[in-house]
């Protein structure tokens, strides 16, 4: 343990000389201070476990009705049975697939359009009012309309997901592009790059870290809309599983469904973050 602490201090000194000046052992409460990756994970896991233990204790103590708040172990039990008997993993797969199809579609459209909006004022001026209007429409409000248009099949769900993410993403992409420093563009131009080269080699490259971050965040929103879509019209997917379980007041199953979504979200998010760190080492 002492060795570890010493190791951390030394690395701290190499990376930022300023910090280590007159404190050999920086407090973990130092304002905007550093915290090792290992410590961060440890603390995160610690809080989560503590919360689960409290929850378990409360559920077992009989203070609350377990129909409303089943204990974590009960939920875990339900989760395992659901995997075995109700092909929960298949439902999870279906949901994930829907999210990725709709999200990819939204991203593939939003990225070029967003870039154009910031690169050419005309495009921005033409599209911004429409996009801003649609963006503020809550997705649930559009459910009836999309059922009228697409029926209750797979298309409705994809459409709703696309609707929820595309318009948000377009504006985020446009913003990422707008934030690329004008000077980068000017450097490229004075080095003889034409517009296409400047966009590809400089502007796009400069906005990429922000873009990947925004994709990660919107992917999370996509899951929100997925559940709405699956509750309204589906015979498969996690939303469907949760909604069916609710009908029979099977709270553990409802919670198990929620947990699955949480786990998928957490894993995807961490994977994308890791990818971000790896791809943008220079940040």
């Amino acid at each position: 343990m002492t060795q570890e602490v010493a190791g951390r201090v030394v690395t701290g000194r190499v990376v930022t000389t300023r910090r280590a000046v007159n404190r050999n052992q920086p407090s973990i409460w130092a304002f905007r201070g550093a915290l090792s990756r290992r410590a961060q994970i440890g603390i995160g896991v610690g809080t989560s476990v503590a919360l689960l233990l409290i929850w378990e204790a409360v559920a077992r103590s009989g203070l609350v009705n377990t129909t409303f708040l089943p204990s974590p172990t009960t939920v875990l039990g339900a989760l395992l049975t659901m995997i075995q008997k109700q092909s929960l993993l298949w439902h999870a797969g279906v949901s994930t697939l829907r999210v990725w199809i709709a999200f990819t579609l939204a991203a593939v459209m939003a990225i070029p359009i967003g870039i154009m909006m910031s690169s050419y004022r005309v495009v921005g001026a033409a599209l911004e009012p429409i996009i801003d209007f649609i963006r503020y429409l809550p997705v649930p409000a559009l459910v009836p309309l999309s059922i009228i248009w697409f029926g209750v099949g797979e298309n409705t769900k994809l459409y709703l997901l696309w609707l929820g993410t595309f318009f948000q993403l377009v504006l985020l992409v446009a913003d990422d592009m707008r934030r690329v420093p004008q000077e980068y563009i000017e450097i490229a131009h004075t080095l003889g790059a034409n517009t296409r080269q400047t966009l590809r080699d400089v502007a796009f490259r400069a906005m990429l870290p922000g873009l990947v971050d925004n994709l990660r965040i919107t992917l999370g929103w996509c899951w929100t809309y997925l559940i709405i879509a699956e509750i309204v019209a589906a015979d498969s997917g996690i939303g469907f599983v949760i909604w069916t379980a609710r009908r029979y007041m099977k709270t553990p199953e409802v919670m198990a469904g929620v947990v699955v979504i949480g786990v998928i979200g957490l894993v995807t998010d961490q994977l994308l973050r890791a990818l971000h760190r790896r791809a943008f080492r220079y940040l």
Partner: protein, 262 residues
């Protein structure tokens, strides 16, 4: 005066209702001339450079290169920006190489050789693989200088390029820049606040008044000091006198209230 290469014809510039250059403005720069702009902070030197580079357009008049009006930016006019930006996603070496990315007249091998040469010149060779935000401000500035030198434009616009460098590095680069300019027949427009640097480097020093900018003085340095600029020129009485004279002009240009807006 030799045949004009880069010319300002009656140039004026205003941003909204702020006059940067009010009186129409004529300067003729010869090919292979090293011109230094001196003037109080905020008088419009960067704006003039940007107009030459095609990044800003004059409100009136015209700037021409070899007789044709300059349009948007292109590879003939390279620029070292006052803020020394480099691309954060490229390493130091890749940034320098990027300077030649759109040059079709160089082979890949020549580009790499030039990259290494200029990295070495600015003393960044050992930091080749570092990313710009991991090196110091002065080093970032040298990345920008190396990139522009490597790009090898005919006209180099350098806006306070040596500002953040230590004295030795600065001297070394001054000597080198002067040599490059003479050897490769470059036309250089250079902005600095350092009068000694101005006199040491320039064929010609142009002193501007505070905003709205007017030309206060146009001093032919080469006529007085010759074209060769060995480092020990600085220790000669001629150099010292000229430096003092330019400094006095600059003081007048700034006005009695010392005119610095910083």
């Amino acid at each position: 005066m030799t045949q004009a290469y880069l010319e300002f014809h009656g140039v004026t510039k205003r941003f909204g209702d702020l006059d940067v250059v009010a009186q129409p403005f004529d300067i003729a720069v010869a090919r292979n001339e090293f011109v230094v702009f001196l003037g109080p902070s905020g008088c419009g030197k960067t704006t003039l450079m940007r107009m030459i580079g095609g990044l800003d357009t004059p409100s009136g008049g015209e700037i021409s290169l070899e007789g044709t009006p300059v349009g948007g930016p292109d590879h003939r006019r390279g620029m070292v920006f006052q803020s020394y930006s480099s691309f954060p996603w490229l390493t130091v070496a890749e940034n320098v190489l990027f300077g030649m990315r759109y040059r079709k007249d160089l082979t890949e091998r020549e580009k790499l050789a030039r990259r290494d040469h200029y990295l070495d010149l600015v003393g960044l060779y050992e930091f080749s693989n570092a990313y710009p935000n991991k090196v110091s401000g002065g080093m970032r500035q040298r990345v920008a200088i190396a990139r522009t030198l490597a790009a090898g434009s005919d006209v180099m616009l350098m806006d306070e390029p040596f500002g953040a460098l230590d004295a030795q590095r600065r001297e070394k680069l001054q000597v080198e820049l002067r040599a490059i300019q003479r050897r490769d027949a470059k036309t250089i427009v250079f902005v600095t606040h350092d009068v000694e640097e101005a006199v040491f480097l320039a064929d010609r020093v142009i002193v501007f008044s505070k905003r709205p900018a007017r030309i206060m003085a146009d001093i032919d340095i080469t006529e007085r000091l010759g074209a060769e600029r060995p480092l020990d020129l600085r220790d000669t009485p001629e150099f010292f006198q000229l430096r003092t004279a330019v400094l006095r002009l600059l003081r007048e240009a700034a006005g009695d209230e010392a005119g610095d807006e910083k």
